[in-house]
C-alpha cells in the first residue's frame, strides 16, 4: 500500500542527506518561572524510531509539544534549537511554522476523543488536513485521498465512513483517524504523545503495530512518548529516559532493558510488573474456606426500556475472606457495572448477591463492602478536607463522636502511609498516589470485610503503582480483607491475585488460580488478552518494527 502514498516531489522538499533529519539541541522549556524541560538533546535520522519514557512530570509531553512549538499557554522555549533538516523550528516565524506543521512534522495526541472535532465529520476533518498544505486540489480528489488515508490506517469500509462523526467510532478507530490526519501530507517526522493510553491492551497493540508499520514501510521517523516502558520497548529502536525535565539515560532499547546504567532507569524497570512473574498473593494471605461474598446470575442493563443494552449478562462469582480475586476485562466488559452492583450503588435487574449467607441489602453493603475508585481526582470531593472525606462514612454510619472520629481518621491515615496532619488539608494538595491512599483510607473507615478496587492503579505511574499495590497487600495481611481487584493489566492482576476471573461481554468466560489462567489459558479470549500484553524481555524489544 506504499504506492498509495505519493511522496512530495523532490523539488520542494529534498530528503535530508544527513542521518540527522531532526536534531534537538539543548532544548529548554519553562512555564513562567517553573522549568519543565532542561537541556534535552537528541538526533533522529530518517526512518528511525525514538521512544521517550518517563513518569508524570518528567517533561516528556512538554518536550513533544515543544518539537512543533505548540506549548500550552504560559509555556515558552527558553533555549536550544529544534532543527528539522537544519531549519530551526524554535526560531521560525508563525506563518512559516504553519507550513511545516502537519506537512513535514506531524503529531498524534493522547486522547483521541477530545482531540477530534466532535461536530465535524471525519471526512471534513481529513479534508481540512489535506487542504491545509500543498495548494488547492479538486474536492473529489481530496475526498478520494481522505478515503485512502482511512483505508491506510485500517478503518474498515473507509469510503462509507467519511460522513460519520468521531463519536460514532470506537476508541481505537478514533486513534487510527488521528494517525490518518497526521499522515495526510506524509510528514517526515511523526510525534506520538501517549498514543495508546486509555486504550484496551488489544487495541493498544493494534495501534502500536500501525505506527511501527508506518515507520517501517514509509520510512517516517517516529517519536513515541509514553509512561509505559512496554509500549515503547516494542516500537522503538532507541530510548530516552526522562525525569524531572532532564534526560537521565539514552541508548538502544535492548541495551537499556538488559543493562540499565542509571539508578532511576533500574528502579523504573523494577517497578514494571512482569506477566511472567508468578503471583505473590499466596505469600500474602490464605483465603478462608467458606465464600464470604457469593454472586449468582447477576444481570444489569442500561438505556431506555425499548433498546436496553445489557452491561452484565449473567455473572457468577465467589469471593472468600482474605482472598484477592482479580477480575480482568476490557472496557465495555461490564466490570465497573459489576463493581457498582456489589457496593449497592445500583440494584441489579436479576440475580442475587449474598454476604456471609444472607442476601446483601443496601444498608449492610455500605458497611461491609467498600470501594476504591480508579480516578484519584474525581473520586475525592474537592470541597472537603481529607479529614472530612475519610470521616464521612463514619458520620454516615454514626460511628463515635467528633473526637473519636478524629482519632480514627488519624489512625487510618497512618495505616495508609500518610501523616495524620494530612487530615486538615485539601485533597488538591496531594499527588495521585497519595490521593489513592486517601481513597483507600476512606474505604477502610467503616471497617469493611470486602474491598472492591476498580482499576485502582491504572491512573498511576508505575513506581506509584507498586507502592499502592504493596499497600493493598499489607492491608489485606493486617485486616484479612477480601479484595476484588478489577483491572485490565493482566501482569498487575496476576501479581496480586489468588484467583483470576476473565469478564467478557458481561459474562465470566474463565476463572481459576492466577498462575494457571496466565500460563495456560482455556478460553481463546484470555489467550488474546495475554498476547496483547507488551513484554519487556530484550528478546521482544522492537519486535513490532
Amino acid at each position: 500500500m506504499t504506492e498509495l502514498i505519493d511522496r512530495p516531489p523532490l523539488a520542494d522538499q529534498p530528503p535530508s542527506p544527513t542521518a540527522e533529519l531532526l536534531r534537538v539541541r539543548e532544548l529548554g522549556v519553562a512555564f513562567g518561572e517553573r522549568v519543565a524541560v532542561r537541556g534535552v538533546d537528541f538526533a533522529l535520522g530518517a526512518g528511525e524510531s525514538l521512544g521517550i519514557v518517563g513518569e508524570s512530570g518528567s517533561g516528556k509531553s512538554t518536550t513533544a509539544l515543544a518539537l512543533l512549538r505548540m506549548l500550552p499557554p504560559g509555556g515558552r522555549i527558553t533555549g536550544g534549537a529544534v532543527e528539522l533538516d537544519g531549519q530551526d523550528l524554535a526560531a521560525l516565524p508563525e506563518e512559516a511554522l504553519r507550513a511545516v506543521r502537519g506537512q513535514r512534522i506531524a503529531m498524534v495526541f493522547q486522547d483521541p476523543m477530545s482531540s477530534l472535532n466532535p461536530v465535524l465529520s471525519v471526512g471534513r476533518q481529513l479534508d481540512e488536513a489535506l487542504r491545509a498544505h500543498g495548494g488547492r486540489r479538486p474536492r473529489a480528489e481530496r475526498a478520494a485521498r481522505a478515503a485512502e488515508l482511512l483505508e491506510l490506517v485500517g478503518v474498515p469500509k473507509a469510503a462509507d465512513r467519511l460522513g460519520d462523526f468521531p463519536h460514532q467510532f470506537s476508541g481505537g478507530q478514533r486513534q487510527r483517524i488521528m494517525i490518518a490526519l497526521a499522515l495526510a501530507h506524509d510528514a517526515q517526522v511523526l510525534v506520538a504523545d501517549e498514543p495508546t493510553t486509555a486504550l484496551d491492551p488489544t487495541v493498544q497493540r493494534q495501534i502500536l503495530r500501525l505506527l511501527a508499520r508506518i515507520n517501517r514501510e514509509r520510512g517516517t521517523a517516529l517519536v513515541v512518548i509514553s509512561h509505559d516502558l512496554g509500549v515503547i520497548a516494542e516500537t522503538c529502536s532507541r530510548l530516552l529516559v526522562m525525569r524531572d525535565g532532564e534526560v537521565v539515560e539514552r541508548g538502544a532499547t535492548a541495551r537499556l532493558l538488559t543493562a540499565p546504567e542509571h539508578a532511576y532507569t533500574r528502579s523504573l524497570l523494577a517497578a514494571v510488573p512482569r506477566l511472567d512473574a508468578p503471583s505473590r498473593a499466596a505469600g500474602n494471605s490464605t483465603p478462608g474456606a467458606e465464600p464470604l461474598l457469593v454472586v449468582r446470575g447477576l444481570a444489569k442493563a442500561y438505556g431506555p426500556r425499548r433498546r436496553r443494552s445489557p452491561a452484565l449478562e449473567s455473572v457468577d462469582l465467589d469471593l472468600h475472606p482474605g482472598e484477592t480475586l482479580g477480575l480482568v476485562g476490557e472496557s465495555g466488559s461490564g466490570k465497573s457495572t459489576l463493581a457498582r452492583a456489589l457496593v449497592g450503588a445500583h440494584a441489579p435487574d436479576a440475580g442475587s448477591i449474598s454476604f456471609a449467607g444472607q442476601p446483601l441489602d443496601g444498608r449492610r453493603a455500605r458497611r461491609e463492602v467498600q470501594m476504591v475508585f480508579q480516578d484519584p481526582y474525581a473520586s475525592l470531593n474537592p470541597r472537603l478536607t481529607v479529614g472530612r472525606i475519610i470521616a464521612e462514612p463514619l458520620i454516615a454510619h454514626k460511628v463515635g463522636d467528633r473526637a473519636q472520629r478524629q482519632a480514627r481518621v488519624a489512625e487510618l491515615l497512618e495505616q495508609v502511609g500518610l501523616e495524620a496532619s494530612a487530615a486538615a488539608r485539601s485533597p488538591r494538595e496531594f499527588s495521585g498516589g497519595q490521593r489513592q491512599r486517601i481513597g483507600i483510607a476512606r474505604a477502610l473507615a467503616p471497617e469493611p470485610s470486602v474491598l472492591v478496587c476498580d482499576e485502582p492503579v491504572s491512573a498511576l505511574d508505575v513506581s506509584i503503582q507498586a507502592q499502592v499495590i504493596d499497600l493493598l497487600a499489607r492491608l489485606q495481611r493486617e485486616l484479612g480483607l477480601a479484595v476484588l481487584f478489577i483491572a485490565h493489566d493482566l501482569a498487575v492482576v496476576r501479581q496480586v491475585s489468588h484467583r483470576i476471573a476473565v469478564l467478557h461481554r458481561g459474562r465470566i468466560v474463565e476463572s481459576g488460580p492466577a498462575d494457571r489462567v496466565v500460563t495456560s489459558p482455556e478460553h481463546p479470549y484470555t489467550a488474546e488478552l495475554l498476547a496483547a500484553v507488551p513484554s519487556l524481555s530484550p528478546a521482544t524489544s522492537g519486535s513490532l518494527l
Binding site: 450503588a345 475525592l380 474537592p382 470541597r383 454516615a396 501523616e419
Partner: protein, 286 residues
C-alpha cells in the same frame, strides 16, 4: 513524604478550586472596575444622609431649576432636590434588588434541589420554570402590580419571580453533572443517604455558577425596577427610585441635560454588576 507534582492531564480534571479562582477573577481589570463602580454608587447611596442635607421629598417653588449651591444637580419637575433624590434612590434600588435577588436565588435553588429528588418532581419543576420564562417579564409585572397594586413589595416579588427560573435551571444543570461525579458515588458507597449526598456533596460543588448568575440578576433587577417605574407600576411615590427618576426625567433630557444624572448613575451601577459578572465568569473558566 514524597509529593509528586500532578500530571498535567489530571490538573484540568482536579476539582474546581472555585473560591480563589473567583477571587482571581475579581483581580482582573474587569473585576476591579466593576467593584469600584458598584462600590462608589452603593457608598454614595449609603452615605446619602451625610452627602446631602436636602430632604428628597421636600418640594420647592422652583421646578426644573438649574444646578445651584442649594441644589447641586438642580431640581426635578415638582421642585425637589435632584441630588438628594438620586442618592436616596440608589438606596431604595439597592434595598430592593438585595432582597429580591437572594429571594429568587433561594427559591430557584430550592426548586432545583426538589427536582433532584425524583423524576416526577424534576418534570414538574422544569415545566414550572418554562411557565415563568414563557411569560414576558414585563407582562408578569403588569399582572402582579395590577393585582397587588404598585409598591415596593410587588417590585421585589416581580424581580425575584423573574430570576427564579434562571437560578433554578442553572443549579439543576450543575446538580445533574455533579451527581454523576465519582465522589458522589463514593459518598453513597460510604453510606451517606440521598439527601446527604445531594446537600453535603453535590450542592456545594454545583453552586458556583450561581455566583455569576447573581451578578447578572442584580443588574437585571435594576432594569426591571426601572421598566416598572417607566410603566407607572414601580415603587410608591414619593419614594425615589432610580427607575422612577429616569422615567421622570426622560421628557426633559434634551432641554435639561443635567437630568441625565439618574441615568448616568443607573448605567454606572448596571455596568458595574455586568463587569463583575464577566470577571467572575472568566475567573471560573481559567
Amino acid at each position: 513524604m514524597t509529593t509528586i507534582s500532578l500530571p498535567p492531564a489530571a490538573r484540568s480534571r482536579s476539582g474546581n478550586r472555585s473560591r480563589n479562582r473567583y477571587v482571581a477573577g475579581l483581580r482582573t481589570w474587569r473585576g476591579v472596575t466593576g467593584l469600584v463602580l458598584v462600590g462608589t454608587v452603593a457608598l454614595a447611596g449609603l452615605l446619602a444622609p451625610w452627602l446631602t442635607g436636602a430632604d428628597p421629598d421636600a418640594q420647592g417653588p422652583q421646578a426644573l431649576a438649574a444646578p445651584s449651591g442649594a441644589h447641586p444637580l438642580g431640581t426635578d419637575d415638582i421642585g425637589r432636590d435632584l441630588l438628594s433624590r438620586v442618592l436616596h434612590g440608589i438606596l431604595t434600588d439597592l434595598s430592593i434588588i438585595l432582597t429580591a435577588v437572594p429571594a429568587g436565588a433561594l427559591t430557584g435553588a430550592a426548586l432545583a434541589l426538589l427536582a433532584g429528588t425524583s423524576r416526577a418532581a424534576d418534570l414538574v419543576v422544569q415545566r414550572l420554570f418554562d411557565l415563568v420564562l414563557s411569560f414576558p417579564g414585563l407582562i408578569l409585572g403588569l399582572a402582579v402590580t395590577a393585582i397587588l397594586g404598585p409598591g415596593r413589595w410587588p417590585v421585589v416579588i416581580i424581580i425575584a419571580l423573574a430570576e427564579v427560573p434562571y437560578f433554578g435551571r442553572q443549579l439543576r444543570a450543575g446538580v445533574l453533572v455533579q451527581r454523576e461525579r465519582e465522589y458522589a458515588l463514593a459518598a453513597r458507597v460510604g453510606g451517606a443517604g440521598r439527601a446527604r449526598v445531594l446537600l453535603r456533596h453535590v450542592l456545594p460543588n454545583a453552586v458556583d455558577p450561581l455566583v455569576v448568575q447573581g451578578a447578572v440578576a442584580l443588574s437585571a433587577g435594576v432594569f426591571i425596577e426601572g421598566a416598572l417605574s417607566f410603566l407607572g407600576l414601580g415603587v410608591r411615590p414619593p419614594e425615589p427610585t432610580l427607575g422612577s427618576l429616569i422615567s421622570g426625567s426622560v421628557a426633559y433630557l434634551d432641554t435639561h441635560p443635567v437630568l441625565a444624572a439618574p441615568l448616568a448613575v443607573t448605567t454606572a451601577l448596571v455596568l458595574g454588576f455586568t463587569l463583575l459578572a464577566e470577571a467572575l465568569n472568566r475567573g471560573a473558566r481559567t
